[in-house]
Amino acid sequence: MPSSGSRHGDVPAFLALDLRFPEDGSIVSVDRLSIEPGGRLVIFGPNGAGKTTLLRLLAGVLPGLPPMDTAYLPQHSHMFRGSAGWNLSLGLDAEQTVWARTLADRFGLNPDVYLDPARALSGGERQRLSLARTLARPEPWVLLDEPLAALDVADRMSVAGALVDSLSGKGAIIVTHDREEAAVLGERLAVMVGGTILQEGPVAEVFSLPVDDRVARAVGVANVLDGVADGIEGPLCSIRVGPLHVWGLGDLGGGAAARVLFGAEAVTLFAGHDASAGSARNRWPGTVTVLRETGRLFEVIVDAGPPIAALITPGSREALDLKPGAPVVLTVKATAVSVIPR
């Protein structure tokens, strides 16, 4: 039976759910889900993990939990018969509608479309409209199911940044299966596989230090580093992360707070400290601190200032003769590094 624990306002600080749905046999079983008021929790996991079911339960679309004060953005936005402007105002009063238009503007929705039939809007326009409408609602919590999935890849990061800014103190639970989206939208990350949450913690920690194989397979091992932008060169920008300058794809400049994201599989290791092979822009010396088996591969954590995770094959491990304390040089192609505003 579902139950909810101690509550902040109308939203539980933790939930305990154990539900079976006879229609599709899917199960969501969550022992504990910690949510800080005003915080952003990303529920991350592969398709079919139960993320959407969990969100529907919290939204009250599926029965089982006591009603909560939430605004819900379903995974597929539906436009009702009528103008786009009318659709934007559904469920909102006059003041909230004005706010929704402001938000839609921030998300890049052209105001000229408001007189058009809503069904003539593109997928991206529909999503921007639905997102603005959801965030303009007065509830202190928002539940967003794949909020950026319908957008063009080129637009996702700018909308994501506007989305985070527009939450203005509201708590958010955001479902996604995209690593980059999770990194930019989330403060904390809960990894959901097979209806249960396997790991929950700060985004960078969960991505770089998965607790077990199942989490590692679900999220992939990734490096998420926070720093400050300090230079632009063509399509690349440089982010200072502790002693490192990390070059990646992006256009942040002028001391902007930034987050860099690259997969552990994008990191190449060279033995010793004087390797000069390759053309990678990012080249950092470091020392192996951790070496562990994850399924068929090895995960190596290198202290290069910040800890950097790399994935290598057993053959590479032997060839490089890696062990804790060994000196190495890490290289990462700048094109494999995403830079996102923080």
Binding site: R56, A59, G60, V61, A71, Y72, L73, P74, H76, S77, H78, F80, R81, G82, L90, G91, P117, R119, T134, R137, E139
Partner: protein, 232 residues
Amino acid sequence: MSFIGDVLSEALQLLVQFGAELRAVIWLTLVVSLLATAIGVIVGVPLGTALGLGRFRGRTPLLVAVNTGMGVPPVLAGLLILLLLWSDGPLGSWGILFTPQAMVIAQSLLAIPIAAGVTAGAVGGLSPVAREQLSALGLGKATTGWVAIREAWPGVAAAVAAAFGRVVSEVGAVLVVGGNIEGETRVLTTAIVQEARQAQFGAALALGIVLMVMALLINGALTWLQLRERES
């Protein structure tokens, strides 16, 4: 000239003359049918919307009642209203038996289940995505219903057309509670029965043509609205 040809020619002659009697019958038919359809729509469409959106106690028995009501023979509906309005009946004091009011009540009883049943089908057929979005909007019950009706508009327009078709074409209920009194409760269908019984085939056919034209015009208008909305 053949028999059919004679009947047709007489019918056309009557239509061209368009006498006072014919005008009175057409007028009463329009008033009674449109009022009954309006009551059927005002009660039936919200009822059907609630049934289509679902999830409340008593929904299933109500749905069974509506579906059964769609098939009730008009003469039986007329009989029920006759018993209620009979001088010794529970509503006998109203004194409206054999008046157009009684005919409107009897025909509303036929229109409500049709309007409700067809609307329930249309609203219940909204996509799961539309339904989830609708419940996510946090709207009140009335607004939710209104958005659902707008969304299912082509089906709801079909419900209106079906309700009108049911009442304008039926003869049993209006005959039983109206009595087919000339100049008072005679409508197109009961007049056709009357003329046919008296072998006045030309007059009967003329009335039939009027009935068809009336149905064509009203359904044409509804279809136009249906298609126009579908394209938007």
